[in-house]
Symmetry: C2
Subunit: 119 residues, 2 copies
């Protein structure tokens, strides 16, 4: 169920490398990845879970509203993270040649299905 | 010089609230903001400087390449952060009704001018 949704997101977004459904505690529920050299998808997600927790706290301290999405662009990858519930998020990793806008769109579109499947 | 560039970015991006040129140490070089209720631009930038430092470290640990840009979407604001040098970044805060894509474009476009002015 989760795997099929994650696979759809990765394969439909141009340049998708992988997607992970994960808790803020860094424990993954499900992950799907295309065979890619030079990136450990799971480790990326675990590390960003910590960052995300920090951003969430920052947004709360500042009363900036609830965090919905975080995107990080490096000179090698795009990482798009979408908050699902208070406990879980989904992260998509794209190649720099990938379609960042489409990746964001797919995460937004599939978020309700993932939330439903989580509950 | 800095102020004029920041003002241009804020005013040309639809829904721009403010922009800050800041060091990772949380000390601002320059900031420009439109009069807006309910947001302390300076405090937002200081808090995100910490988050950014964490993301930078994470990207380095993971050998994910150099961080270039981070965007955060809450249910009230967009925050777009563009890395300029090893020490400085520029952050743009937009209204949720604002033009996120144009904000990102303007930061990318003006980054070389800011880097030049910093050196």
């Amino acid at each position: 169920m989760f795997n099929e949704i994650l696979q759809g997101i990765v394969q439909q977004s141009g340049g998708g490398i992988g997607a992970v459904l994960m808790g803020y505690d860094g424990i993954a529920i499900e992950e799907y990845s295309e065979p890619t050299e030079g990136i450990d998808l799971h480790m990326v997600a675990v590390e960003y879970a910590n960052v995300l927790k920090e951003i969430k706290n920052t947004a709360e301290i500042l009363d900036n509203g609830d965090m919905e999405e975080v995107s990080i662009k490096t000179d090698r990858f795009y990482v798009v993270i979408r908050v699902l519930t208070d406990d879980y998020f989904v992260a998509l990793i794209l190649d720099r040649a990938g379609n960042f806008g489409k990746g964001r769109y797919l995460l937004t579109k599939e978020a309700p299905r993932l939330i439903e499947a989580l509950s």
